[in-house]
Amino acid sequence: MSYAPERETTEGRVFTVTGGDWADVVGAHDPVHDERIVVNMGPQHPSTHGVLRLVLELEGETVTDCRLVVGYLHTGIEKNLEYRNWTQGSTFVTRMDYLAPIFNETGYSLAVEKLLGIVEQIPDRATTIRVMMMELNRISSHLVWLATTGMELGALSMMIYGFREREFILDIFEMITGLRMNMAYVRPGGVAQDVPAEAIKKIKEFLGFMPKRLNEYEDLLSGQPIWLARTKGVAVLDVTGCLALGITGPVLRSAGLGWDLRKTMPYCGYETYQFDVPTSDDADVWGRYQVRLNEMRESLKIIQQCLDRLRPGAIMVEDKKIAWPAQLAMGVDGLGNSLEHIAKIMGQSMESLIHHFKLVTEGFRVPAGQVYVQIEAPRGELGVHAVSDGGTRPYRVHYREPSFVNLQAIPAMAEGGLLADVIAGGASLDPVMGGCDR
């Protein structure tokens, strides 16, 4: 006796296996519309921008539920800061959002300076250098966004071009700070060292070719049917949604609200620079692409203005009880203390030696209190809440990281859309997990 119907074919005998009420069970379900599966995307996935994990419930290709899991890159930077002196803090915070280190450092330095009450004493040259470095960094960060988003949506050549130009900016950073990333260049009181003449030359070269390159990217992508199909009307989030979820930066501006802290709550003298705040009414991935592309053009304008107003002068606050005592210089083995400074503290000035020793071993004291400083980072509002107990180390430093806050928008953008648009929507937020998880 056979357990299943059988028939002879040219390939041999074929059994059709059925049993029980299986046919009824299958028949009761509509395989197209009832098939719900849960897909785990990440934490190791090339298009989640680092270690972001998405738990997606799918019905066919439509996302019905999306949950985010973060924290894979949590390194306890905020806790670590509490056991180092205030100056050493720069070295830690620069490693949070690794695509925008200058912003992390500047936000931190502005907070410490506000706690110290020395905001007015920061030399003009230091502030101008900070602005110039921030805008260069904004371009390099947006370039990584353009490059990786291009790659994820199928425009592979964009990735090569984006990283090529970013590399040029990183070379400028290396000339100025000694490091490509995580430079700890902006310090409480000023910046670590002055901008060398060859770096100015290189920035001018960059300003010369970059506008043309930006037009090339636009030529490459903007008319491309696939690019249009993958970005237009995808991952829409309007102004109400943005404000409720606390979304700031290019995503908010792509929804039509021109909220840019450089204009609305200026810091570092941004009110004296001529630039526009690009916005878009599309509120989709296309709008965010337009906003970021135009922001790079505005940043170029600001950098040009910085070069024009860069006058010789001090780069660190006058107060010798706060100013980092080193005069850094580039040696054969990299950045280090200049020989003149060492000759001075070792052979000429006892007081300089004492200052050097006390500041390096102990650090300066910051009067007790708390401040919140917010700056416009490439991803939105970067807020630094710094608390001092009056000692030489931070009592508490909290970063309001735009990546962390903005990632909350993914379920709102993704649910009800297609799986492939989760990638486009997530990429359009430009999350950096180093910043999100800290």
Binding site: G71, Y83, L115, L243, P367, A368, E381
Partner: protein, 218 residues
Amino acid sequence: MSEDSVVSSEHGMFGVGGTGDTSGFGGLQRLAVPVLESQRPFGGDFDEVVDALEEAYPQFGDAIERVVVDRGELTLHIVPAKIAEVCQVMRDDMALRYELLSSVSGVDYLGTDERRLHVAYQLTSMTYRRRIRLECAVTAQDPHLPSVTNIYPTADWQERETYDMFGIIFDGHPNLTRILMPDDWEGHPQRKDYPLGGVPVEYKGAEIPPPDQRRTYR
């Protein structure tokens, strides 16, 4: 800036006091953070903001513990149970309009304040281009606060982080779980009494002591 905001003064070179210990064996010392309170007029448009809240919120007297103006920033200390109500008024009143909750974070004032766990809410009014900080203090024994996620959905993750790091329980939060630390982690790392680990080194069983027990220049 008000008079009492000057809370710490330098004394001697680099603040050497007491024995002037420079050996570092004194270890890390945390200072008591002073409690500030400012009186009217607060200066700037801070009076206007406080007046607007007083007018829009009838229980103002019961909900506001004190007002602090320090370094050009306005802080309202709120009775913990009232924080959600105050946030609702701060967001909806036409004269206040704090549309954006920028940040929620905690601070542990261990040994300074009996209600040692503080939560700071940084609010931004885009209409009036103002910022304000609301602060609540709870004890470690009863670390409960109403959640503001109904008013500001952005508080979702930020409250989860504050719970994760400080163990503050936000009542009414839709999904108060750990966010940065692993789910099965014990303790709340940002608390000041959270034990820190040392680093064992391969030399005669020696260990680099935890950062708060190291020899340190104060």
